[in-house]
């Protein structure tokens, strides 16, 4: 090989992209598990539970008939009021999640740039994460006016930690040599944040977002139990009513729909994550 064409063909080998093709086996699993789930449900509601307690868990077909296929019945029964209250809770969850993202990411940026601030605030974040927020409901009610604001606060408190911790971890994850590359060019703190730390943190940020999004839905549903007023109420409040009145099919329908909301939000952020960073970051299963 002469030195002139040594460069002509530098291709060692390009690592091919792994295509994520689904096979038949990928579909059979979920179908089997779903059938087992439905089977176990029937078993529970028609065999395991003693007859006088079967109203607690109506059979799947009864739930579908009376929960999903009744549009409106009386003031609170039927799919329509359930969907209305689900929408009400979804709005609180999404708005709360938005607030959490803004506050949480700003806090993580501040913490990443200042070690003392990180040390000073970290214990409180962990404390909020593990504190039973619902035990604080009397205090929240006393300090803050307005049901909506109270519900939002519960969402923010419950969803905050994963955003902060994952963003912070991500911001601090850039390699030493990558940092030195920026140092050598005399890059400002801001440039470093925008062009190095933030993009490096994106995979972690999306992990945090997915966890927090799920928690925001839980926060909204749980907050409904404690903060409600007349008119349209959240799905949590609706569930509480069904529970008290022993309206089994409606109760199960509401629970299924609330879980579906959580699932949709989770899948949505997974999709956004793949769109945003899938090209350069290999997203491992489960993230």
């Amino acid at each position: 090989m002469s030195s002139s064409n040594a460069i002509a063909n530098p291709v060692e080998e390009v690592i091919p992209d792994k295509s994520d093709k689904f096979s038949f086996a990928d579909y059979i699993g979920p179908v089997v598990v779903f059938m087992v789930f439905i089977g176990a449900w029937y078993l529970l509601s028609s065999v395991v539970l003693p007859e006088q307690k079967r109203f607690l868990l109506p059979t799947p077909h009864k739930v579908i008939q009376e929960g999903f296929f009744v549009w409106h019945s009386g003031e609170r029964r039927g799919l329509h009021p359930i969907l209305m209250s689900l929408w009400d809770s979804a709005k609180i969850a999404l708005l709360g999640l938005g607030i959490t993202i803004v506050i949480g990411m700003s806090l993580a940026v501040l913490m990443s740039s200042s070690r003392w601030l990180e040390r000073a605030t970290w214990p409180y974040l962990v404390a909020i994460q593990s504190a039973p927020v619902l035990a604080l409901t009397p205090l929240i009610r006393a300090l803050i006016d307005g049901t909506q604001t109270q519900r939002l606060l519960v969402v923010v408190l419950i969803a905050m930690f994963p955003i902060v911790s994952n963003t912070l971890f991500g911001l601090l994850s850039a390699d030493k040599s990558q940092h030195e590359l920026f140092t050598l060019q005399g890059a400002s703190k801001w440039t470093r944040l925008v062009k190095l730390q933030f993009p490096a943190a994106l995979p972690n940020i999306f992990v945090g977002l997915r966890i927090s999004a799920g928690l925001a839905v839980i926060g909204a549903v749980v907050g409904d139990f404690y903060f409600r007023q007349g008119g349209v109420v959240g799905i949590g409040a609706q569930i509480d009513v069904y529970r008290n009145r022993l309206w089994g099919p409606e109760l199960i329908t509401a629970i299924i729909l609330a879980s579906t909301l959580g699932l949709v939000v989770f899948l949505f952020f997974g999709w956004v994550s793949r769109r945003a960073i899938g090209k350069w970051h290999i997203i491992t299963r489960g993230h």
Partner: protein, 251 residues
Amino acid sequence: MSDAPASSSALLSFNNVSMTFDEGTKALDNVSFSIDAGEFVTVVGPSGCGKSTLLRIASNLEASTGGTCSIDRNSIGYVFQDATLMPWRTVARNVELIAELHKLPKAERHQLAAEAIQLVGLNGFEDKYPRQLSGGMRMRASLARSLVMKPKVFLFDEPFGALDEITRERLNDELLRLFQHEGFAGLFITHSITEAVYMSTKVLVMSARPGKIIASFDVPFAYPRNHDLRYEPEFGELCGKISHALRGAHE
């Protein structure tokens, strides 16, 4: 070596540079040498002897505790041990990065990046992401990124140490071609004696901690060098001498 005055044409000179780290480790002891335009100087030495510290002092990533180092800080190319590419940027965007940090206009840095990509033979791979490239190609992209600003002095911190031998020899040839084409002065750190002799105009041998320059060898072979040079008797002889000096360095 140590009493050689820094010549005025030197692009990089170390004058009695010493380095003691905070925890008390003495890394460098009274190191003096200089590199002129057109020179490619390689430092070989035992692991942990402070070779890399030389580069960190030259680039101002660290300040020496004694002596001075003179260099035009605005015209340094620094190639790290790993490619240090940003995984979220394509090859083209990675190569642009340094120009971007120097706030060059977009059109100009596109142009410069395209030229550098051409120079390292990565054309056709502009839109690939680092994870889609082999180790050698990542290193090429890293080289291209440093070439964009056309630095007068290039500092290489064992850049090919992690590559397999064939790839390493190939990149040696490419780097030499760039050295001739671009006319920068080079300071290269390596563990490999063969690589040192093949690349350099001069090889310096450093002692174990605290690092001192204990031997200096001029390499007489003319450029362009062909990879068969490695099997010439004179080449082997020079490698033998350096190896001998290096053995002394370990004691």
